[in-house]
């Protein structure tokens, strides 16, 4: 079992020179927003009060679910059907933002969620819906493995490819297929998250 890399760009068919706007792989201005959110998260956990923890867990968890569903079932299929030029345009504008937004919402949801569970004693093994809590761990675990191992690396790699003077369309196509496929899986897993979280919320 071993990976085989694609042929070197020199051997690939010449890439058409598609116009691309300049972009930052990691938007530096966005890092300020991420730092502010993380600082607020630390304060919320340190305060250990119900409202801030609920806000972070519910608001960021909802953002995570909606983003995954949108990417997996709406934007992903649309991206697959766009013309190469339109796909590149959308990718360049969307992916750098996703690179900051997704890890931020995931970290806030999980860290605040753990603290909230401690506050409400819902993570205790004696909680009457403990089986549902463990199910949520499993769903989040599977999503994390797919997102961290496949989706995020493909996201970064496609941006590096698009930064090149002559991007290799074969590489972009391969990475985007991987991105869309994994986004679809995490989108489907988010439906399980919705079922579990609404069950927990309704007791």
């Amino acid at each position: 079992m071993s990976d085989v890399v694609l042929p070197a760009p020199a051997e690939a068919p010449p890439a058409p020179a598609l116009p691309r706007p300049d972009f930052e792989i990691v938007p530096r201005k966005g890092l300020i927003g991420v730092a502010i959110v993380f600082a607020a998260l630390i304060v919320a956990i340190a305060m250990d009060k119900l409202w801030p923890l609920t806000f972070f867990h519910v608001a960021f968890g909802a953002a995570w679910t909606i983003l995954d569903l949108m990417l997996g079932f709406v934007l992903g299929p649309i991206l697959g059907r766009l013309s190469p030029a339109a796909r590149i345009e959308l990718t360049i504008r969307l992916m750098p933002k996703m690179l900051l937004i997704l890890p931020t919402v995931v970290t806030c949801t999980l860290a605040a969620g753990w603290q909230l569970g401690h506050f409400l004693h819902t993570i205790d093994s004696g909680y009457h819906l403990h089986g549902w809590i463990v199910a949520s761990y499993i769903v989040v675990g599977i999503m994390a493995i797919i997102a961290l191992g496949l989706l995020e690396p493909a996201n970064v790699a496609v941006l590096f490819e698009l930064k090149k003077p002559r991007p290799n369309p074969a590489v972009i196509q391969r990475l985007m297929k991987r991105f869309i496929f994994t986004a679809g899986i995490t989108g489907a897993m988010q439906i399980a998250t919705l079922v579990i979280m609404t069950k927990l919320a309704s007791g």
């Binding site: 860290a111 093994s125 463990v134 493995i145 690396p153 790699a157 590096f160 490819e161 590489v171 990475l175």
Partner: protein, 139 residues
């Protein structure tokens, strides 16, 4: 396609390693706050860390690889994932997790914070077929 450089299955091994620490974390979290036998979680962590070490070793032996790009991406991704691991670890400490479970979960976060940047840097560098530079020791 015999002229294509072959690479070790870094992504597959990395995902297996992540799956092992996730399984260990779920095992511990599912039993808290009661006393948790640490044996299974430690075994999963050791296996996961061994896969990380194996992945690093296998990758370090690859010569025809864009190491310059690998290290460039790895450093920044490491910084980012160290921050997220630190925040999750902070939440563990803040809510009173202590002793063996805290050590196992903290070490699991270390594996996570190293393996994810490795996967990102590997994926970027494998498709970045610029002339090969220095081997794994390059920084």
């Amino acid at each position: 396609m015999s002229d294509e450089p072959r690479l070790p299955p870094v992504t597959q091994i990395g995902m297996t390693s992540l799956a092992l620490i996730v399984a260990g974390g779920i095992y511990l979290a599912a039993k808290l706050p009661e006393h948790v036998p640490l044996g299974p979680a430690i075994a999963l962590l050791v296996l996961s860390a061994a896969l990380l070490a194996g992945n690093m070793l296998a990758l370090s032996r690859v010569r025809d690889f864009n190491w310059r790009r690998f290290w460039q991406v790895f450093r920044w991704a490491l910084l980012a994932y160290a921050v997220t691991a630190g925040l999750i670890g902070y939440s563990f400490v803040r809510n009173g997790l202590r002793g063996g479970p805290l050590v196992v979960l903290s070490l699991s976060l270390v594996v996570y914070a190293l393996h994810v940047p490795l996967l990102i840097a590997f994926t970027v560098a494998r498709y970045d077929r610029e002339p090969a530079t220095e081997p794994a020791s390059a920084t």
